[in-house]
Amino acid sequence: MPGLGTSFGRGAMTTSFWDIPNADVVVFMGSNAAENHPISFKWFLRAKQKGAKIIVVDPRFTRTASKADMWLPFRSGSDIAVLGGLINYAITHNKIHRDYVVKYTNASLLVNPNFKFEEGLFSGWDAQTKKYNQATWSFQTGPDGALLRDDTLTNPATVYQHIKRIYGEYTSERVSEISGISVEDFNKFAEIVTSTGQAGKSAVFAYAMGWTQHTKGVQNIRCSTLLQMLLGNVGVPGGGIAALRGHANVQGATDLAVLYHDLPGYLGQPTEAHKTLAEFLDKTTTKQSYWINKPKFMVSLLKAWYGKAATKANDFAYDYIPKMAGNATYSHYDIFQSVLDGKVEGLLCMGQNPAVGSANAKKVHAALAKLKWLVHVDLFDNETGEFWKLDGMDASAIDTEIFFLPAAGPLEKEGSFTNSHRLLQWKHKAIEPLGESRSDGWYINELGKRLKKLYASSTAAKDAPIRDLVWEYDHPEHPDDFDHLKVLKEINGYDMTTGKPVAGFGALKDDGTTACGCWIYSGVYPEEGVNKADARKRGAPNREDGWTEAKKDGSADYLHLGWAFAWPANRRILYNRASADPQGKTWGKVPLVWWDDAGKKWAGCDVPDMLPVEPGKVHAAGVPGDTPFIMKAQGMGGIWGPLADGPLPVHYEPVESPIQNPLYKQSTVPNARTFGSEHDKFGTTAEFPYVVTTYRLTEHQTSGVMTRTLGFLAEAFARPFVEISRELAQEQGIRNGGLVEVSSARGKVKVQAMVTNRVKPLKMGAKLVHVIGLPIHWGPKSGHVQGDIANTLTPQAIDVNVQIQESKVFLGNVKKA
């Protein structure tokens, strides 16, 4: 989540679902919550009951759009043009929340005078290495090293003037030409959204995979954070960015860093350049923010992993942690490329069906066929476990040895989910696993134990990280299982001497006396036997309807502080200090957090997301009591935020696009990544004239392995289809329900046509562009219902910041089959 992290300091949804009813405007863009997050949708409907305007910006009229006040069909991939247009509208119509912008963000800081943005490229671009040198993206400092600022926002070097200039080109007419939204509709939309650019009004933006799965996924999100900061909508009741996660526990997986580029709790991942712990901490710690405590979190993590073997003398076993090599990336797509390149020979695939679920499926199949071994842990055998049976595979030429291990289902295992609003909720096992099935945790625990046994007698230095690894999770009463609470306790952190859990991350130390597996979760298990993720105390209902709403006197526990545990420190709304003005007085319609002058502390109906410092004073960490973003330098929200592809989000066309970028000579993200394998083909409009977007449905879960296998869900949506407009159907002579062939440069699939008025051709200036929609849930082998793999068509064109694929937009064709 570098998008949200760069802007606000933490890579997570800023708000709580329970706060959504406070919104005046709800914008779904890149999200189809009614279909993909139906449980959350109740809160959006409650916002509507309370008078909020619901706006859906989506190429398709979805089930979410069916409940909205306004639907704006637009071309997938033009999100930044639309959001940039809103920024321009807010600035030119003087709709920004000026106090918020000046006091709470870095808009008033002066940027390096050598910074330039020309023809779609920021200064520092090196065409040879395809990388930016970010030296000119810095802030100006005075002789004392202090950041220079201009609170009148008029100095042309201010961040504010830069965005005013850059988004000045994003006029309503330009937006219309790029996105296909009519000028009239766009202005109506902009008027509603920017009406919240004042104290007491708020808008919330909900996004999901519709924003992330682009070569500019991170910048899509960044652009919305800019707009929300300009409107003063972050950290206030009914505001924020609702980052709706793709699976039940994606937030948890990210927090615990089941990713290559991070350590648990967003501590970053050392590279070869970080030779020592001190060097790593020095180079990767944000100064003048709460991050100055990072050494405590990092040392505690190393103690949790390596225990007694991690000592001050050996840099707390920092050497044991793998370091990333130079420019190397180790993402999902790099793995398959590495298999094809012969660098990786085995794959452990747990709860995943990449043969159906990953972009450019044929390439994935080719990679699977090159593996020496594949361990496949799943509820059901599926297309990945049986890849050698797929179309185009020659089983006689494949030597892959496949081990299938049966996994326990969600109801057959204990543990926690961390959902979109950062809430850790514990669940208990409902039934025993079927037959020999085991939970993923069991497999991991056994793997750890057996690896340790295997290397126990080794004296080689390279094996030390395994020998010294602390791995004591066995259940005291059930010898064939592990103790989930032991894992939770390690995540929470404990005192190395007493062995007792720590109360929260404030108790962590950098001297090796505490251990903590993921500092942001600290406090979830504050005492032996107390599992706050399992707490179930809800706020008292105060409405006839049976739910709890915010009250003007701040008395209602509408954020249900006693229900489960939200990281960090049980805060429900991040940056909630912004709900009060710089002096600490509530400026929203309902109070959230305020400065209690009598008690000399921050108080509120949420846990204050603030350091203990009075407005007007500066905390020892360097964060003033006036600014809310404590994880950012001096508490300032990052409107300016350097990332690998620029300090500001600007519109680029997708890698496969029907048009050249109308704004800049540089048409696409300059450093978007593609792979050069024989499977990585890209098409042009001559052959593939239509814009294709892929998506999910309520009825199925990703590659369908958990849903196509269940009769009641298989019958709920039986066949793969493609949604096309009536106009395109007429052009191509396609009738509703007819069989069609959808193709891209990567391949083709046969599906049923769903001819509908819920998809419309887009008028982009003089040009008419057709958009077609393709769900991804079907595969040819597993389940009661089967179909062609939609991901055969999607490209492996990936974002430079997080290596996510551009499966939301590519070029394709559709013809009667």
């Binding site: 089930r63 049976g546 309520t698 019958e715 289809f721 329900g737 049923q752």
Partner: protein
């Protein structure tokens, strides 16, 4: 409006079977997720059937003997050409004057406690008279080869097994937006009319309540965004006079004649016994009139 606090906790009075319960679907908050369909099949242990029509989100073309609730997806444009996608949960309406009860020759279908139209599977002979008699196409007899067992009618029971045990119907308890409500019929109607007022104030001029007066009052109520006909719901449905005459005119007469005939036979039996001592009893003959229903 969500499920009201009082409604969420509401349970019928076990001592008062005359109490009228109902389900109310606020279609304006239905997101077409089909969780109700799944919960219904799971609770009732019905079979899945993969018979989705092409080119629609709707899971089945209609209700059937195994599919007791179904979300209908209606795609249209309103008068101003603005897209509308209406979703309406469809199942047995539990009418106060029910066509199926009227048509049923064996009284397998009857008016049960709490206003629920109850189907007694033991008594059902699979004649399917109920099918055309239902104005809502909500009861069906399995005529396909899906089932190996005897043909029986099937329809929503309003989860009578659950509600008579102080539980909510399965669909109600699973609905993620709380758009399906369950409670005292009078209370639900009050809620529904208030909701319609709220919708009108929000600019939905055609919002209306369906089920209040139809067929003596339905026990499945709707808050609709558009007029009932848009959803394919019958406007002012009535039962056919011939059907009511058959059930309440002809059948009682038929049964009276049957009763008289039986009575005559019993008299005859006694008379005969007196006449021919040791004669055999006419036990089997008593079952013969069942052929009336063929």
């Amino acid at each position: 409006m969500g499920r009201t606090a009082t409604l969420a906790a509401w349970r019928p009075d076990p001592g008062n079977p005359k109490q009228q319960v109902a389900m109310l679907v606020d279609t304006t908050e239905c997101i077409g997720c089909k969780a109700c369909e799944v919960a219904c099949k799971q609770w009732n242990q019905n079979e899945y059937r993969i018979n989705q029509e092409l080119g629609t989100y709707q899971s089945h073309p209609s209700l059937d003997a195994q599919t007791w609730t179904l979300i209908k997806f209606i795609e249209r444009e309103d008068e101003d050409g603005v897209n509308q996608w209406l979703m309406q949960k469809h199942n047995c309406m539990h009418c106060s004057e029910a066509g199926c009860v009227t048509a049923c020759p064996t009284d397998a279908l009857h008016y049960g406690d709490y206003g629920v139209v109850t189907l007694d599977q033991e008594k059902c002979i699979g004649c399917a008279y109920c099918e055309p008699a239902c104005p809502f196409d909500a009861i069906h007899v399995d005529k396909s080869a899906f089932r190996q067992t005897a043909q029986k009618a099937g329809k929503c029971t309003l989860c009578f097994d659950r509600i008579s045990n102080a539980m909510q119907p399965a669909c109600v308890s699973t609905c993620p937006t709380d758009c399906i409500k369950y409670g005292d019929r009078g209370e639900l109607l009050k809620w529904a009319y208030a909701r319609v007022e709220q919708l009108k104030a929000m600019g939905y001029a055609n919002a209306n309540v369906y089920g209040d007066k139809e067929l003596g009052g339905l026990h499945e109520l709707y808050v609709l965004l558009e007029k009932p006909e848009v959803y394919g719901l019958p406007v002012n449905p009535t039962l056919s006079k011939r059907l009511t005459f058959w059930k309440y005119g002809l059948q009682p007469v038929g049964k009276a004649i049957l009763g008289a005939a039986l009575f005559g036979m019993v008299i005859n039996w006694f008379a005969a016994r007196r006449t021919f001592k040791g004669g055999h009893g006419p036990g089997e003959e008593a079952e013969a009139p069942a052929s009336l229903h063929d």
